[in-house]
Amino acid sequence: MITLIVNGKEHNWDGDPSLPLLWYLRDEVGLTGTKFGCGHAFCGACTVHLDGVAVRSCSTSMHEAADRHITTIEGLDPAGNHPVQKAWREVNVPQCGYCQSGQIMQASALIRQNPHPTTEEIRETMAGNICRCGCYQRIEAAVRLAATGA
């Protein structure tokens, strides 16, 4: 039996310990905000926080998640008003929106670790998150806005 805390709530799993956390969150718990894009840590659509650090949930097994704190987009801020979420709305970042949960989870982890990232640091860190619609210019601007409030 694996126990893990998802958005502050305890969950138990007695199925396959090798199941990727992504599919547990989406299909077993019903937290569909975390998205699937590649399954192999190439795209970042599935990004969640594991004890506060951004990880790719498609490449994190239930075994690795045992006894850890998981935060998904649904749990990032109770009112959905994390500075990164607000900045995303301010800049009108999304096109189709599908990659944006992962982008926001990556950006919020970045700002927590590095409250004042340079343009280079933003571009490098966010390069792990693909946006096929090509919202990069606005993602970069929104991360900067969230970090500086400017």
Partner: protein
């Protein structure tokens, strides 16, 4: 656990009555726009009437007002990132003087008889629906005014709708839209010829760019519902192992190990159709499980023997040489002006360019996915589809059901780019659900998506330009060789169809005396489908690279060369040799090929993009222009290539003339995105085949542009327009000029001419 939400109602308030009141909506047959004229507004003919089910302008199909004043507006086209789910309802709201803060948007199910054409493709939504949506809004406004006048017992000329209420002008009395909802529903729908349209100067939302997309908040909190997010009680999760070669099939399979995987419940064969079969599934072996992860693991454990079929020999490297050879020999003449052979003979100099563009995969971030529940002779499908009605019709046929027994709910699309116009994934879900008697969601993995796509065609383009002794181009011969999309519909189709030829080949807008376009035959060996901007990609790449090559050969500035080739402002007549000139389905009278507008976007981008500015060493500027989807787009790229051949893009400027526009903020986002898609296909995009199998699997081998590749800044310049200029496409036309502008910039920076895509390692030293 149970949760599904498909309608994506994006704003507060639960709808209390649908249709101006509940029940009325379906009771009255709606009117189609055919044969109707509206007063008070410039109208123009579009190709909408030729689309299946045309357009509908009856407010009862699109507008509902609840007693609490919440106005619900139906979005009938699919949202894949263009903003259409916001822009079209916003037109209705503006024209009916509704307050956008009290509007909610509801996504339509597939029902073209009710809503008009829903096929969200071809950059058509605004150009076909701007006027019908204005008519819907105007009719709703006039019904509200009539109801208020009756209630007050005053002439309708004394009342006026404004900002969600109707005012009796002489006395200042007011009634809210909610108060009038029931009475307004009882009013007759005004005849379209009697509609009074708003004066465009009074618009509050149209053209302003101040309204955010309706799903913005939900997207940022993870609540927006895509195809992948549908959940039904008792739903199973399936993935399918498909034949690795198009046209292949299952010989035998062993499910033993798959069934041992924890969570796997069933393994079954899925029927496939012989190739070509339009959008029917490829068939294969499905693994059905309690979650997607278990299904994928089960599929990995399957043992399958395949019969690869006739395409097993497909090798894209060999095929490339065949295409290039074909482009060196005469082919079917598809446009002929003057005498190219004689002019070439008399030419002082001939510049030849041979270009090659490979297959690309669409790779929308949400891979194909669909949910179906087929039970008791009825089917219900939830899917991210660009073609809701086509999905419904195909599902009915595939399942052997009557169309009226099939419902298709349209979710948000996590990207589309043309991939989600083909509904094979929805049909797979329907077939499996019917077989197992339970709701099921079929998930494509990224490997499935990249290996079983309807690929962008592969193409060899060859252009010869004959120059007289003054460097003037007197002859132009362009051969385009590419398997046609029609090959997916019809065995043996081996020439580009009119709609492909019309995308930048035979509609060449250049002022040259002698022009010949040829299309040698090419057979398809995999599924070919339309990809954002379609044949414009190879055609524009060849033409716009050639312009830069001629400029170089004659020592001229590429922008001046471009303007000289476009020639004077005029409406371009391609001549009688072009049979079936395809103008994006539009009447050429409404959407002529306008060399003047083409010139103007070049001039606009040159001015705003500071063409000719000094750039540092190792940097270069490139320019390209292209008309597609009846819009005009010009792009300047500044590239920097370092001593190791690493490329970065300091700046991009794009000018677009898309006629009168509704939502400039979304035009900007589409053009920003088009730069990334153009960059992706130029720098990385390539699907290769060996033994009939796609060699790329995931984003490691099929790379797409990332933030680290992306331009440091992309500036978008929108050409101002009046209501006299009909609206044209936005979603696609930003893509074609990007790759040639980039490669022309690379030439300016390095002297290295890129003639085949992707750029890949070509710059490495």
């Amino acid at each position: 656990m149970f949760q599904y939400r498909v309608e994506n109602v994006s704003r507060r308030g639960v709808l209390q009555g649908l249709g101006i009141t509940a029940g009325l909506v379906l009771a009255v047959p709606v009117m189609s726009r055919r044969g109707m004229a509206a007063t008070g507004m410039a109208t123009y003919k579009t190709g909408a009437d030729k689309m299946p089910h045309g357009t509908v302008n009856d407010p009862r199909a699109f507008v509902a007002i609840a007693p609490d004043g919440i106005v619900t507006i139906i979005a009938s086209r699919s949202e894949m990132g263009t903003g259409v789910r916001t822009s079209l309802p916003m037109i209705v709201a503006d024209e009916m003087n509704a307050d956008w803060g009290r509007v909610q948007v509801k996504q339509a199910d597939a029902d073209e008889a009710k809503y008009g054409n829903q096929d969200t493709d071809g950059s058509r939504s605004t150009r076909h629906f701007l006027i019908p949506m204005r008519q819907v809004g105007a009719a709703a406004r006039m019904m509200l005014e009539a109801a208020a006048a009756k209630q007050w017992g005053v002439p309708v000329s004394e009342v006026k709708a404004d900002n969600h209420e109707v005012i009796h002008t002489p006395t200042g009395r007011k009634l809210g839209y909610g108060d009038l909802a029931t009475a307004a529903a009882a009013e007759p729908v005004p005849d379209p010829s009697q509609l009074q349209m708003k004066d465009p100067k009074d618009f509050r939302y149209i053209g302003k760019g101040k309204v955010s997309i309706v799903d913005l908040h939900d997207i940022t909190v993870g609540k927006a519902m895509y195809g992948i997010d549908t959940r039904l009680p008792g739903m199973k999760y399936a993935v399918i192992a498909r034949p690795p070669v198009v046209g292949g099939k299952v010989v035998s399979f062993d499910p033993t190990d798959a069934m041992k995987v924890s969570g796997v419940e069933k393994v079954m064969e899925v029927k496939g159709w012989p190739w070509p079969s339009k959008f029917q599934p490829l068939g294969g072996v499905a693994v059905i499980a309690r979650n997607t992860g278990a299904a994928i693991k089960g599929r990995d454990a399957l043992k399958i023997v395949w019969d690869d079929g006739a395409n097993a020999h497909y090798d894209s490297a060999v095929y490339r040489r065949e295409l290039e050879e074909a482009a060196r020999k005469p082919g079917l003449v598809v446009r002929n002006n003057g005498d190219v052979d004689a002019a070439m003979k008399s030419a002082d100099k001939i510049v030849v360019g041979e270009y090659y563009l490979p297959h690309f995969a669409h790779a929308p971030m949400e891979p194909p996915v669909a949910t179906a529940n087929v039970a008791d002779g009825k089917a219900e499908i939830w899917a991210p589809v660009q073609s809701p009605q086509g999905t419904l019709d195909d599902a009915a046929k595939t399942l052997g059901l009557k169309p009226e027994d099939v419902t298709v709910h349209v979710t948000l699309l996590g990207g589309g780019f043309g991939r989600k116009s083909k509904c094979d994934y929805a049909l797979e879900a329907a077939i499996i659900s019917q077989a197992i008697g339970a709701p099921v969601r079929v998930q494509w993995t990224r490997e499935d998506d990249i290996q079983h796509d309807f690929y962008h065609t592969v193409s060899a383009e060859r252009i010869e330009a004959g120059l007289d002794k003054n460097g003037k181009v007197i002859a132009w011969r362009h051969r385009s060789v590419a398997p046609t999309i029609m090959s997916t519909f019809k065995a043996g189709a081996n020439h580009e169809a009119p709609f492909e030829l019309g995308m930048g080949l035979v509609d060449l807008p250049f002022d040259i005396q002698n022009i010949r376009c040829e299309n040698p035959a090419a057979e398809a060996h995999t599924r070919i489908g339309w990809f954002r901007s379609v044949s414009n990609i190879p055609h524009a790449f060849a033409v716009q690279t050639m312009v830069s090559e001629i400029a170089h050969a004659t020592g001229r500035d590429p922008k001046d060369m471009l303007l000289e080739l476009i020639g004077p402002a005029r409406l371009v007549d391609v001549g009688p040799s072009v049979k079936d000139l395809w103008d994006y389905g539009e009447p050429i009278s409404s959407y002529p090929i306008d060399a003047g507008r083409l010139r103007k976007v070049v001039e606009l981008v040159a001015e705003k993009g500071e063409w000719g500015r000094q750039v540092p060493k190792g940097h270069g500027l490139g320019i390209a222009v292209h008309r597609s989807f009846v819009s005009y787009v010009a792009t300047i790229v500044e590239v920097a290539v370092d001593s190791k051949g690493k490329m970065t893009i300091p700046r991009v400027d794009t000018a677009i003339d898309c006629g009168i526009y509704v939502n400039p903020e979304r035009i900007q986002s589409q053009i920003e995105g088009a730069a990334i898609m153009g960059l992706s296909l130029a720098k990385y995009g390539e699907i290769t085949f060996k033994h009939g199998r796609a060699m790329q699997k995931n984003f490691d081998t099929f790379q797409v542009g990332r933030m680290s590749d992306s331009p440091m800044v992309t500036n978008v310049h929108i050409m101002p327009a009046t209501w006299a200029v009909p609206p044209s496409g936005v979603g696609e036309p930003g893509v074609p000029p990007f790759a040639p502008a980039l490669c022309n910039a690379i030439f300016a920076a390095t002297g290295k001419r890129i003639r085949h895509l992707p750029i890949g390692k070509q710059l490495e030293v």
